[in-house]
Amino acid sequence: MMIELKDVNKTYFGAQPLHVLKGINLEIGKGEFVSIMGASGSGKSTLLNILGILDNYDTGEYWLDGRLIKGLSEREAARYRNHTIGFIFQSFNLINFKTAVENVELPLFYRGIGRRERHHQAMEYLDKMGLTDWAEHFPNEMSGGQKQRVAIARALITHPRIILADEPTGALDSKTSLEVMELLKRVNKEEDVTMIVVTHESGVANETNKIIHIKDGIIGKVEDNVDHNASPFGENSIMK
C-alpha cells in the first residue's frame, strides 16, 4: 500500500474545538488514481493536508510508502515533501516573480541540484506539458490552463511517489478542466505515480478510477469507477 490511514483523528482547537476528522481509515495502493469527494467542511482539505504532511494529526497512524509519518521535525517533513510528494493547487501557487522554468526548477533547487542540471530537467518537463515556448514567461502572462500545467510540471520534476491535487480544476473553465484531467490521467499512467485528487465536482471525480466520499469527517462510500460513469450531474455533463 502506498498510503494507509488508521483511525486518524484531527481536532482544531479554537474558541470552539472543531473535530474535523473523526477516525479516518483509508488505503490507497500504488499507482491508483483516486478522488476524494465531499462538500465543503467535510474535512477533505484537512485530510489532504495531513496526506501531504503539511499538517499533523492528533491520534491514529499514517503510513506513507511503508513509513510511519508521525511527529516529524520540520526538516524531515520538508524532505518528505520534496522527495515523495508533489502538490497541485487550485490557485496554481506559482511564484509570480519567477518565470515558468524557474518555478519548475524550484523543488530541485531545494534539493541542492546544480543550476544547469535543474534547468535541463525543468525544460524537459515543460516540454512534456507542451510549454517549451512559454518557459521564459511569467505566470501572469499565461492562461489558467498553462499555469496549471506549469504547476503539474513542478509537481512531477522531483519524481514523487504520490501527487496530491487540491481542486486542480477549481479555477479553470470546463474545456481547460477536461484538458488538465486528461493530463493528470496520462501522468498517472505514464509516470506510474499515485494520484489523489480532492474535489467537490462530480465530473472531476468521474474521471478518476476510484471515488472516496467523505462526509462530516468520516469516510463514507468508496466507489470503484473503472467505467467512468459514476453519477455525473445531468446528461453528458463532464465537469460543470
Binding site: G52, R75, A78, N93, R111
Partner: protein, 415 residues
C-alpha cells in the same frame, strides 16, 4: 544555504521586486554609514588641527602672572603694580614640585635687517635656555640660546622661520652672519624650524628673534624686572597644587594680601589641556553616538521593511515550504536578503564618505601640505563593514523568525 550564484540570484530577484522600497530602505543604511564616517573624519580633523596648535607646548606647566593689587596689605595701598624679578626664577625652584621656572622679556614690533633685506614686526625676546623646555624649539640650523650666552652676555640671536625666509631668501645656513635689530648687531647662532603651533606665550617663534635675557636686560635698560613666570612642574606633582604654592610664595614675597585675586594670578596650562582633551573625548563620543544612532535607525528600517516583506510573502514562503524548503533555508534566505541590503547600501555609504572626506582634505591642502587629516583609516572602514554585517544579521533575525512560523498550509489559506 551556502552563498553561491543561486542564492545570490534568489536574493537579487526578491530585492528587485520592489525597487523603490529596496532603494529607500537601503538609503537609510547608506545615510547612517555616511554620517558615521564623516563625523569620525570630522572629529579627527578638528583634533589634528587643535593638537597641532598645542603640539609644541609643555603640558605640565603653570603660569604665574603679575598684575595690580586690589587690596591694601602690609602697609601698602591698593592699586600697586607688582613686577617680578629675574631672581624669582631661582626662588621658585625651592618649591619641591617645581622643575624650573623661566620667562621671556620681549620687545614688540622691532625691525630686523640683513644687508638690504628687512623684516618688520619681529617679536624680539630675551630668554634663558630653559625657555625651550616649555616652548619646544625644533632647530633647523644651529642651536638655541644657552646658559653660557646668558652668563657672558653674548650678543647672539636665534631667529624664527619667517624672519629667516625674509632675510635669507636664498636659503642656506645663516649661522655666523650678523643681523641688526634696532641698530645693534647680533650674530646668528641658530634658526628655529617652521612650527604650526598656535599655542604659545609672548608670540610664536616663527616671527621671533631670540637673544640672551641678560643681553636684552642690559641693552634696553630692563633691569631685572620681568612680566610673568612660566613654571614647569615635575611629572610626579599635581600642577594645581604647585601653582598654588608658587602663587602664595610670590604673594608673600611682594606683600600681596592672600585673598587678593588680581595682583598675582596662577594659570594652570595642564588643566586647560586636560579640558580640551576631555572636550575631544566628549566630542568623539557624541559623534560616535550620533553616527551609530543614525546607522541603527537605518538597520531598524531594514528590519521593519523585511518584516512587511515577509508578511506580504506569506503565500510565497508557504509554497516554498510545501515544495521542500526547510525552515533553515527560509531563515537563511531572509537573513541573506537583509545582509545584502545593508552591505550594499553600507558599502556605498563608505565609498561615498571616503570620497567626500578625500575632497574636503584636498580643500584643506595648501601647497601640497595637508593642514588637517580628515580621511578615516582603513581599519575604521573595515570595522564599520564588520559592524554592518552584524547589523544586517540582527536586522534579519526578527523577520526571519516570523518567516519561519509560516506553515505551508498558510499558502493555501491566503489566496
Amino acid at each position: 544555504m551556502k552563498f553561491d550564484i543561486d542564492a545570490f540570484r534568489e536574493i537579487s530577484q526578491t530585492l528587485r521586486r520592489n525597487k523603490s522600497r529596496t532603494f529607500l530602505t537601503g538609503f537609510g543604511v547608506f545615510w547612517g554609514m555616511f554620517m558615521l564616517l564623516v563625523l569620525l573624519g570630522g572629529s579627527k580633523a578638528v583634533k589634528s588641527m587643535v593638537s597641532k596648535d598645542m603640539g609644541n607646548f609643555a603640558t605640565n606647566c603653570v603660569i604665574v602672572m603679575n598684575g595690580i593689587t586690589t587690596k591694601p596689605y602690609g602697609g601698602f595701598k591698593s592699586g600697586r603694580q607688582i613686577m617680578f624679578r629675574t631672581a624669582d626664577m631661582d626662588e621658585l625652584r625651592k618649591i619641591q614640585g617645581v622643575e624650573l621656572a623661566t620667562t621671556s622679556m620681549s620687545q614688540w614690533g622691532v625691525q630686523a635687517v640683513y644687508g638690504t633685506n628687512k623684516y618688520n614686526g619681529v617679536n624680539f625676546q630675551g630668554v634663558t635656555s630653559d625657555y625651550s623646555r616649555i616652548q619646544f624649539q625644533h632647530m633647523k640650523y644651529g642651536r638655541f640660546i644657552n646658559d653660557m650666552d646668558n652668563a657672558e652676555g653674548r650678543k647672539v640671536a636665534t631667529i624664527g622661520w619667517r624672519v629667516y625666509e625674509t632675510l635669507f631668501p636664498g636659503g642656506g645656513d645663516p649661522c655666523g652672519k650678523f643681523i641688526s635689530i634696532n641698530g645693534i648687531y647680533y650674530e646668528i647662532i641658530g634658526v628655529v624650524a617652521q612650527t604650526s603651533s598656535n599655542f604659545n606665550i609672548n608670540g610664536g617663534s616663527d616671527r621671533g628673534v631670540f637673544c640672551p635675557m641678560s643681553v636684552m636686560a642690559r641693552l634696553y635698560n630692563r633691569g631685572d624686572r620681568i612680566w610673568g613666570l612660566m613654571v614647569l612642574v615635575k611629572p610626579e606633582y599635581r600642577s594645581s597644587e604647585v601653582m598654588n604654592q608658587c602663587v602664595n610664595m610670590m604673594k608673600q614675597k611682594y606683600l600681596v594680601a592672600p585673598n587678593d585675586k588680581r595682583a598675582i594670578v596662577g594659570l594652570n596650562i595642564e588643566s586647560m589641556f586636560t579640558f580640551v582633551r576631555n572636550l575631544f573625548k566628549g566630542l568623539d563620543l557624541l559623534f560616535l553616538l550620533v553616527g551609530i544612532g543614525t546607522l541603527l535607525a537605518g538597520a531598524i528600517g531594514v528590519s521593519n521593511i523585511m518584516m512587511v516583506t515577509v508578511k506580504e510573502r506569506t503565500t510565497e514562503i508557504g509554497i516554498r515550504r510545501a515544495i521542500g524548503a526547510t525552515p533553515k533555508t527560509i531563515i537563511s534566505q531572509v537573513i541573506a536578503e537583509s545582509i545584502t541590503l545593508t552591505m550594499v547600501s553600507g558599502m556605498f555609504g563608505i565609498i561615498f564618505s571616503v570620497m567626500i572626506l578625500g575632497m574636503v582634505e584636498l580643500g584643506f591642502t595648501k601647497d601640497g601640505v595637508m593642514t588637517a587629516q580628515f580621511q578615516v583609516t582603513f581599519w575604521q572602514a573595515l570595522l564599520a563593514l564588520l559592524g554592518l554585517i552584524t547589523l544586517g544579521v540582527l536586522a534579519g533575525l526578527a523577520p526571519a523568525s516570523r518567516a519561519m512560523q509560516i506553515k505551508p498550509v498558510d499558502a493555501m489559506r491566503e489566496e
